[in-house]
Symmetry: C2
Subunit: 407 residues, 2 copies
């Protein structure tokens, strides 16, 4: 039986197993200390509030909660989100918001809307692996987005894209505490990126999955808020804001949202209608019930917990890592990004690390659309506790030192 075509089929079979999948496999092995995941600590889930929400909703409104519903999403949740977006400086109405089944789905639908085979997507090196996986289904090429300088002009981007057989169709990035680097893009760079999107007449996806998890430093305005300031009206902006409750409330209910200009939202609603009708009704009602009552305090709880673990991680890295290894100092989110000496290979280090010191992480090459970054690794600190962080980094530091000496 023939699939869509050979190119696509190859692409699918080459897709990497997701980090979650890998993590779950690794956790099955006894004794592994894992920094591989990108998943929240389940101890932080607002379980009681969620249970209360299910009981309230099923006692009072079961017929609606268990029935089909509309593709754009549960109206009270969209109203809550319009308020939430307003608190980020984004003046919008519910018609600027669609609910998705997690923010991963938003990336899939955005790829579906904008990308034809051969078109070009601009993204940072490295970038979120899941975004590459979602976009790859639409067979794009990638060109490098360089927020902090770089001197590719809009015309050069266009030329590259034409040479690759398509057009520049969108830009994608995480502005706050990115997965995988933990880094944040400064205000001046945000403005430059928005200019670029307008110059190229393309949408710019602002993946805001980690935005609420700032530990210290000052909030940079959302790129959508900046674009609204520039344009005077959300419906004239180029930024597509992709949000998620996965890192603040719970990922297991799979509730995310997109906030953008109405013409984009109305097309995403049609795409969603054709692709899965709507996100589960009761999940949206539960998220609304919990967000309305507990969002701020839940975010505070998560921030406090992850801030402490970030501190443990940075202290342990300082203590145990040899000279020649560098790492980011994230102001929020879940990840530290480590750069090893140039001759070292993160994937080879992982194989040794699991076998010899029972420590897991994600090699950085997978996050690079061009296959570079082999000497980088991603370390997650949202799940391991203080002791695991200390023991893990102590072991990893020794292994890296050994490898550096051996080379």
């Amino acid at each position: 039986m023939s699939d869509r075509n050979d190119r696509y089929s190859t692409r699918i079979s080459n897709m990497r197993a997701s980090e979650v999948r890998e993590l779950l496999k690794l956790l099955d092995q006894p004794g592994i200390i894992s920094f591989a995941g990108g998943i929240p600590d389940p101890a932080l889930f607002p379980t009681d509030a969620i249970q209360q929400a299910y009981n309230d909703i099923l006692s009072e409104n079961a017929g609606a909660a268990l029935q089909y519903s509309v593709s754009e999403g549960y109206r009270p949740l969209r109203e809550w989100l319009a308020q939430h977006m307003a608190s980020l400086g984004v003046d919008c109405t519910i018609d600027n918001i669609i609910i998705t089944t997690g923010s991963q789905q938003a990336l899939d639908y955005i790829g579906k809307l904008f990308i034809s085979p051969g078109d070009t997507i601009l993204t940072t090196w490295p970038t979120y692996l899941g975004a590459l996986q979602a976009f790859n289904a639409y067979e794009p090429n990638y060109d490098r987005l360089t927020p902090d300088g770089g001197n590719t002009t809009p015309d050069e981007y266009k030329k590259h894209a034409e040479q690759a057989g398509g057009q520049v169709k969108l830009a994608y990035l995480t502005a706050d505490f990115s997965n995988p680097t933990g880094e944040t893009i400064g205000l001046a760079e945000r403005s430059k990126l928005i200019e670029l999107a307008h110059d190229l007449d393309i949408p710019l996806i602002e993946d805001a999955a980690y935005r609420s998890l700032r530990f210290d430093g000052e909030n940079a305005p959302s790129m959508l808020a900046l674009d609204i300031k520039r344009q005077g009206d959300i419906d004239k902006t180029r930024v597509i804001y992709s949000g998620s409750f996965s890192k603040t409330l719970t990922p297991g209910l799979r509730v995310g949202w997109v906030c953008a200009a109405k013409p984009i939202i109305s097309k995403l609603v049609l795409i969603k209608q054709a692709a899965d009708l709507h996100s589960p009704t009761i999940n949206q009602m539960v998220i609304h019930h919990v967000a309305e009552r507990h969002f701020d305090q839940q975010v505070e709880k998560a921030r406090a917990s992850y801030r402490q673990r970030r501190d443990y991680m940075l202290q342990a890295l300082q203590r145990y890592m040899p000279d020649g290894v560098t790492w980011t100092k994230p102001e929020g989110g879940m990840f530290v990004w480590m750069t090893l000496p140039e001759h070292m290979n993160g994937a080879e280090l992982l194989a040794k690390s699991i076998k010899e010191i029972q420590v897991a992480f994600v090699p950085g090459g997978a996050f690079h659309a061009d296959g570079t970054g082999k000497n980088t690794i991603r370390l997650n600190y949202s799940l391991p506790d203080a002791e695991a962080i200390d023991t893990g980094m102590s072991r990893l530091g020794k292994l890296i030192k050994l490898e550096m000496t051996a080379a």
Copy 2:
């Protein structure tokens, strides 16, 4: 800003609003008697069992229920489904099963896996509107599948597809109590369709959304079961079985599944991973909890209720419809399909019907990939009660008679 391309953009803007959407809009108008929906009666939802399931799961297993999980789905639910499929004569393992966010999502992912722009999909005229919507995103052409005869040979199908600029890539149909016609495909026709799929070397999607809702007559074997008989092994079959809990337990949790040969399932898992990571964890656990304890009795309850309404509907049609109007006599499912005299137009009748007699239904043209079927309408009986059915059909019969006389 330019979308994927103009053709796709036009296609999106031409997509019809879903039946659910239409129904919800109509229900907002006071006094409308609606036969437009295709949605289950919420009075049948196993609300208590579902509430019990949420409480049990959140009390005993909240960490897992609210966390990320694997793309192929919750293992105990896949095990339950392997047993369920065995009861339909489908000998399979959990590796033949993936959980999807409703069966609509299965259609989207199958389109994504198999269809390139210009390829041909074989489907019945009429067919499920949502399938056309899901597949249209991948820009296929359609050719007509004729289960009960027709004399298009495999070579002719191939030739048509080549002339249309692609290849025949899949066939799609609902074998049992189809949406929209309520009709069921006989055993001999099932075998012929399986031969055709093998001759053309294409997958054949068996949409089994309504399969459990048989009221009378004898169960025809699932097409997947027949193909296993032919091939001796599910992993050598061409049939992709798409199932759903939406019509038996609840649609609001959005849980469906696909059962097929392993090579297909493993590709769908990669597609799902890239497209939304996984279906909501807790929804899968709740469906498993309820299915394990109440599936059979729930199916019995739904069958009894819908059988009675089917009977009311057929009696009312018999009583009120003028000569020259014909309709199907479904042995299960949720729909009766009515054929009006050739000169009449279902869409025009709907407009008059809503305005003059406050009765809603779905015009049949939308279910035809080639735009024919203008003189047909779909009547749903799963939601209206006996009185609504009698009043609605009495009014509709009079209106049709008037229209026939006027013409």
